[in-house]
């Protein structure tokens, strides 16, 4: 090793860490103990383990196998699932970790597995290779010390980013040279932000003073990024293993739990109480019954000596435990594993959905967590981002204004009269020089790169052009293309010179001196260029609010009119400004910038300050308007969500006017909607704003809360009469509400505000910072009744709200992959939300709710006969069913049909669900897992249990049921009950199934056939490992008796009778319903006409109003 000392401050530990970015939990050796430990930490598994241990220790009626086997099954299935997932992680890891990289040691290249790279190693990476860890860029094959990197796999941005080598090491571009380097690197603690890095390198030259250089994100090559267009680079590893930014970003996967799980736990407690109750009742009755000595110990059934000798209290306790064990099947051991399997397998249906497949990006929906499938059916609030979510984020240059003169492409005006390079239609004309300055500004002030056409992947390609533009921001591409339309073409960046072809087809060269990058706080970006004549120019473009204060005030007025009008039309506007710099000014700026860049502490703030100073006293040239097209079927989707009872809130960082017009365009606001504004405009500025806010809040509150009941009381309720309200609020006002400066009186703003919000059909929050978005989501999430919230967004700024909401949905948009990576589900387009929620969410909810209820039901009617039997066997804990049946009931006989049902059931077809959003309301508020349906299922289970037991009990009043007079014993009794049970619960499911696939048929009839087959098999052999041959030919004998057949059929019929009756009644009701007047004039809002009779013509007009032609 050369004298390469490397001390990343605070990350000494990283030297020891192996490189495992996705952190597999297990190795081959610790898998078993560790996994078991993890699994038994779950309360349910632990409970079953306890039951199992009780069975092993205490003399219990059933052998330990009966509960041990299901537990083993559950544990095994879970372990296999987790092991498989872990194996996937291992495999993904090995791809990365075992891949070979070249490390320079002693001036030679050494091949190493990438996981063995240590901090301080110098790594060589060749073109199109992925960086194996986070590297500080030292030298590259290109002499200027730059390299191009694409971070597509990190944040989805496919443009090439230029990274710069440390200035003093750029020359060290051979193995030998790099080996001579002696340097120390200090860097900050590992942090997940991909775009932030602060560090310092101190280079010890052989003869001169050590040189310190600052390191920034532009020097850092991230693990996972790919080297492009550069032959090879050298870099020194600074973060490896778990400390790489990529690994840090993969952590913190959401641990969201669904509301269904909470219901399950509540039900479990009920059943646990039933279990304890049963055991207590039985124990008590047992001792009451036994108080009679000839019951306790008749001559034919004496106790063993041991039994006589044990203390009564201890005996009672063991009896209690025995009853617990006997009835413990009431808590379904396999429910958890079935639920988990259902979720795991069910999530595939979302990713397989062809309708959610997007041709453009060649991808379908993505499921990051399968725990929340059913939550999709419970959403009450939808929080959506605007740009890229409601809109397509594919920008199109619409018009611009230069010094107040509007320029618009004639193509847009003359319909179908296409003139490819036609003249511009001028609405008055600005000076030629200003015009050219403006266009040059558009051409220069950006970070767009040129990509040769043959490498194009998926981005817009022009057939006649040999290149295409790529950029992290689609606005910039639109602007560059816009400039091209007016004759100024950006030809690319070569050696820090930007080439432009102007209107006269001449090529102009500009030296790029500095790029003052865009950031969301400043909301602007600038470039400083030197023209060929030596003039120094600064071009700046940014949001109007950030540009206007920095330009000459007299210039604003003309442009502002245009900007405002464009914003009203829903366009994204940017203002362009410039200033000329003198050499002296430039020198100062240059120095300040470099200083700030070198700073190790507070670099951000220092940079911001320099930027702020630099971008001042500019001259406004003009403004641009870029259209961000609405996503397809946006209005329909929003209407469907509304009709489904969801409230849609738009949270955007955009300007109020733009956002508002988008909201109108997507019909979130109707023309009839009364808008309540809480923005800087209505609240005003200055000291009085809090008072004004207070007044407004009270006024709106009064309007909504107190006046609304009056309208409701009106005789004829219709949507035209009841006013809909929309609320608009902006970021500054929101922060005023949420974080009031005065503590007195204003603390209840929040609750008033919330009440207003909840009354509004649509809420628009504009000018939101990412954190504020999350704040809003949290505020709604924590209101009374804790409604289920859903956030959908596409950009990095939506991540916080995606993580905050119950369900986070990412759009696989153009702003990178951060949103979809942090989301629970990712879909290609906003319109897919409709199917995802209305169809998939609804179905998943119904399925899982049915699954849970069914599980409790089937175990109740399984165990109830066993409980009743205790009354007829002297409370002796005699099991009714054979051990094999007890064990297999939940695992084999009844598990697969419900699993298939819970995967495939469509009680209403997907088409109906998507086209009739009102159906979604039927399952809202966790409707199928409330206490009423739970009680229904419980009573059903109890009823069936009673029928099973007493049916067979009365049958056994004469136990000679065979035609040869032979007599059946207790095991036949149990087997008859069990047969009726298995058939009933399976057929009950068959009755519930509305959507039959071959799979349903297969598992339902297959399960029944398997039961019969198994029973024959189990009773057909004398099993040497069994102590008692209880079941020997019991099943076969049972079937030889005609009475038994009749009884089984009768009991199955009686058990299912209520269900059948219900179905028949429902059918009749539906028929009756259909005969009634038109039922569904679904309105734009989710409110329904409640006064009943609407004539057909009205309904048709309503329908027409419901789907008006979209205004493009």
């Amino acid at each position: 090793m050369p004298e390469q000392s490397c001390s990343p401050c605070g990350s000494a530990a990283s030297l020891a860490l192996s490189q495992c970015p996705l952190s597999p939990q297990y190795t081959l050796w610790n898998f078993l103990p560790k996994n078991l430990f993890e699994q038994f930490r779950r309360i349910a598994n632990f409970y079953f383990l306890i039951i199992f241990l009780v069975q092993v220790i205490v003399d219990t009626p059933t052998s330990p196998v009966t509960s041990g086997l299901p537990l083993f099954f559950v544990i095994t299935v879970t372990a296999i699932k987790q092991g498989y997932e872990d194996w996937l992680r291992h495999r993904a890891d090995n791809e990365v970790n075992k891949s070979n990289v070249f490390v320079v040691e002693n001036a030679k290249q050494v091949r190493k597995e990438s996981e063995k790279i240590k901090v301080g190693d110098i790594v060589e990476v060749k073109a199109d290779e992925t960086f194996p860890c986070d590297l500080i860029f030292l030298a590259s094959s290109s002499t200027d010390g730059t390299c191009y990197v694409t971070t597509a796999s990190l944040d989805g941005e496919s443009n090439f980013k230029t990274h710069y080598a440390v200035r003093d090491t750029t020359v060290l571009c051979t193995d030998e040279a790099i080996d001579t380097l002696t340097a120390t690197i200090e860097c900050e603690q590992p942090q997940p932000d991909l775009y932030k890095f602060v560090g310092r390198i101190i280079i010890y030259g052989s003869n001169q003073e050590p040189v310190a250089r600052s390191l920034g994100p532009e020097n850092l090559l991230l693990k996972g990024a790919t080297l492009k267009n550069t032959k090879k680079i050298y870099g020194v590893a600074v973060y490896t293993g778990m400390e790489t930014k990529m690994a840090l970003n993969y952590q913190g996967k959401s641990q969201k739990r669904s509301a269904v799980e909470k219901s399950i736990n509540a039900f479990l407690i009920v059943y646990l109480c039933i279990l304890l109750g049963k055991a207590t009742v039985c124990t008590t009755l047992k001792y009451v019954w036994q108080s009679n000595p000839f019951n306790d110990e008749p001559w034919y059934n004496e106790k063993t000596k041991k039994e006589r000798d044990t203390f009564k209290v201890l005996r009672m306790f063991t009896d209690f435990l025995s009853f617990m064990v006997l009835f413990n099947f009431i808590i379904p051991v396999s429910m958890y594993v079935t639920v988990e399997m259902q979720k795991f397998l069910g999530s595939f249906f979302i990713s397989w959905d062809k309708e959610m497949y997007d041709e453009e990006i060649q991808e379908g929906a993505l499921v990051n967590t399968s725990d929340l499938n059913e939550e999709l059916g419970q959403v009450e609030y939808v929080f959506t981002d605007k740009t890229g979510t409601l809109t397509e984020n594919s920008m199109e240059f619409i018009e611009c204004c230069i010094d107040g003169h509007k320029y618009k492409d004639c193509m847009a005006e003359v319909d179908g009269f296409s003139q490819p390079d036609g003249p511009l239609k001028y609405y008055g004309k600005a000076e030629k020089s200003r015009e050219e300055l403006f266009l040059r500004a558009l051409c220069l002030c950006h970070t767009v790169q040129i990509k040769e056409a043959d490498q194009v992947d998926g981005l817009v390609a022009h057939p006649e052009r040999k290149y295409t533009y790529i950029s992290s921001s689609p606005d910039e591409i639109a602007l560059v293309k816009g400039a091209e339309k007016y004759g100024f073409t950006f030809l690319g960046l070569e050696n820090n010179f930007m080439k432009i072809r102007n209107q006269k087809n001449e090529t102009e060269m500009y030296q790029l001196l500095h790029v003052l990058n865009f950031d969301p706080v400043r909301r602007r970006m600038s470039v400083i260029v030197r023209t060929s004549t030596g003039k120094l120019l600064l071009f700046c473009k940014g949001a109007d609010s950030s540009i206007f204060p920095r330009v000459q005030q007299e210039e604003i007025q003309q442009t502002k009119v245009h900007v405002d009008r464009n914003a009203m039309d829903g366009y994204r506007t940017l203002c362009v400004a410039f200033k000329e710099l003198t050499e002296k000014e430039y020198d100062r700026i240059d120095r300040q910038l470099n200083e700030a860049k070198m700073a190790l502490q507070d670099r951000e703030e220092k940079m911001a300050k320099v930027f702020d100073d630099t971008e001042a006293d500019m001259h406004l040239i003009g403004a641009t308007a870029v259209e961000d097209r609405l996503q397809e079927q946006l209005a329909e989707t929003i209407e469907a969500l509304h009709a489904a009872g969801m409230k849609v809130w738009v949270l955007t960082g955009d300007k109020m006017e733009t956002a508002k017009s988008t909201c109108y365009a997507c019909r979130l606001f109707q023309t009839s909607t009364e808008l309540l504004e809480l923005t800087a405009r209505t609240v005003g500025e200055g000291d009085r704003k809090e008072d004004r806010l207070h007044e407004l809040l009270l006024e709106y509150h009064k309007k909504l809360i107190q006046d609304l009941p009056k309208t409701r009381a009106g005789l004829k309720r219709s949507w035209t009469l009841s006013q809909e309200y929309g609320l608009i609020i902006d970021g500054s006002t929101l922060s005023l509400i949420l974080n009031p400066s005065q503590d007195c009186g204003s603390s209840n703003y929040k609750s008033i505000f919330l009440q207003i919000c909840l009354k509004c059909t649509a809420v628009l929050c504009c000018r939101m910072a990412p954190l504020q978005k999350a704040q809003i989501v949290r505020m709604v999430k924590n209101t009374k009744g804790s409604p289920i919230t859903l956030s959908i967004g596409d950009g990095a700024n939506d991540v916080s709200m995606i993580l905050e909401a119950h369900v986070g949905i990412g759009i696989k948009g153009k702003e990178g992959r951060q949103a979809s990576r942090n989301s629970d589900y990712a879909v290609p387009k906003f319109k897919h939300l409709r199917k995802l929620l209305l169809a998939h969410g609804h179905l998943y909810y119904v399925r899982i709710a049915h699954l849970v209820q069914y599980f409790f039901y089937k175990n109740l009617c399984f165990i109830l006969p066993q409980f009743l039997y205790q009354f007829f066997c002297g409370f002796s804990q005699q099991p009714l069913y054979d051990a094999a049946y007890l064990t297999m009931y939940n695992i084999c006989f009844t598990s697969l049909p419900i699993l298939a049902y819970s995967l495939l059931e469509q009680h209403i077809s997907i088409d109906t669900l998507t086209s009739d959003p009102q159906l979604y309301m039927k399952v809202s508020d966790n409707a199928m897992l409330q206490w009423r349906p739970f009680l229904y299922w419980t009573f059903l289970g109890a009823f069936e249990g009673l029928v099973f037991f007493f049916g067979v009990y009365f049958l056994f009043q004469n136990s000679s049921l065979e035609d040869n007079g032979k007599v059946f014993g207790n095991w036949t009794f149990g087997t008859i009950v069990f047969t009726v049970l298995v058939f009933t619960v399976t057929l009950k499911l068959a009755l519930d199934t509305r959507f039959w696939t071959w799979m349903n048929h297969f598992v339902i009839w297959g399960s029944l056939a398997f039961y019969v087959f198994f029973s024959f098999f189990w009773g057909g052999v004398i099993w040497p490992f069994l102590k008692q041959q209880r079941m020997y030919f019991v099943f076969a004998h049972m079937l030889t008796s005609v009475s038994t057949w009749l009884a089984i059929i009768l009991l199955i019929f009686i058990s299912l009778f209520p269900e059948i009756l219900l179905i028949v009644l429902k059918n009749i009701k539906e028929k009756n319903h259909q005969a009634g007047p038109f039922d569904l004039p679904v309105l734009v809002s989710y409110k329904r006409i409640e006064n009943g009779y609407v004539k057909a013509e009205d309904a048709v007009t309503n329908l027409a109003e419901r789907y008006p032609l979209r205004i493009p």
């Binding site: 059934n301 049921l961 009794f973 005969a1075």
Partner: protein, 301 residues
């Protein structure tokens, strides 16, 4: 079908005689407090009259009530491998048989509470015709499940067929008067494969139960199996039930294709059938009514 079902149990003839003897007037009252080892056995005779002849084969059952054959301690108190003829289990019975596992340090064969408490009353039936008692032939084979008799229950194997030798080293259950190899004179009904024993070993489901005791076959086509008339039942009263408030019964019954007399199924089927019919009529009526409304509502549209 329902009619057939009704006939199924309607034509089944049955007769039940409680011979516990709790009532002082009962002829068996004297035997009420017998114990296991009373020799000679207490005997009593009960006379009864058949009003109707029993045409087809008659099955003779004994019934016990308040006898918990389904008590857990009782149900598990057996050793199936011993009963299956396993020689090692014969001499070393399962622990489940406690406290009926060994007696005076000798293993009990068959061990366990079930075997120990085997029903041991002897019932004999006589037809009284003009003061002459004609014994009625009671067949004691064919009362157990075929699979039990031929597969599940096996005598221990060894040299020769002498059961006495094969059961060498074991002792009889405490309550039994005779060892297991002296249950019957016929070798194919002796030892573990004695059918009375096998029937007893199939534990009943409920505390009141009956078990098949004997068969009475119809001799020829011209005569009913049991003619109407007077009969007498001779009982060798050995089995004490009074201590646990139990009852003992003798049941004579014919069997239809559905099995023994069982009112439950018939009643249940008739009830369910009529409910279904009633509901069907009601629903049909409703359907008809709404069906009409349905069409009339369509007209304005």
């Amino acid at each position: 079908f329902l009619v057939g079902l009704g006939q199924g149990w309607g034509c089944v003839r049955g007769l039940l005689i409680d011979y516990t003897g709790t009532e002082p007037s009962s002829p068996c009252n004297k035997c009420l407090n017998v114990s296991w080892d009373s020799t000679p056995p207490c005997t009593c005779t009960i006379n009864f009259t058949l009003e109707h002849a029993f045409e087809s084969n008659v099955f003779m059952y004994y019934g016990l009530s308040n006898f918990y054959q389904n008590h857990r301690r009782y149900v598990k108190s057996r050793d199936d491998s011993q009963l299956n003829g396993d020689n090692s289990s014969l001499l070393n019975p399962s622990k489940e048989c406690e406290p009926y596992r060994t007696n005076e340090d000798k293993p009990i064969a068959p061990c366990g509470a079930i075997a120990n408490s085997m029903f041991n009353d002897t019932l004999e039936l006589y037809r009284i015709d003009n003061d002459t008692r004609t014994p009625i032939t009671l067949i004691k084979k064919g009362i157990a499940w075929w699979t039990d008799k031929n597969v599940k229950f096996r005598n221990p194997t060894g040299d020769g067929n002498n059961l006495t030798a094969l059961f060498q080293g074991t002792t009889k259950p405490v309550n039994w008067p005779k060892p297991v190899y002296m249950l019957d004179s016929e070798p194919d009904n002796n030892g573990f494969i004695n059918e009375d024993f096998i029937v007893w070993m199939r534990t009943a489901a409920l505390p009141t139960f009956r078990k098949l005791y004997r068969l009475i076959e119809r001799k020829n086509n011209f005569q009913p199996t049991l003619q109407a008339g007077k009969y007498s039942l001779d009982i060798a009263y050995n089995y004490p039930v009074h201590s646990f408030d139990g009852r003992k019964r003798m049941i004579l019954s014919t069997i239809s294709w559905m099995g023994g007399k069982n009112p439950f199924l018939g009643i249940a089927y008739i009830t369910v059938g009529s409910i279904c019919f009633f509901l069907g009529v009601v629903l049909l009526f409703i359907h008809h009514k709404y069906g009409n409304r349905n069409t009339s509502a369509d007209i304005p549209n």
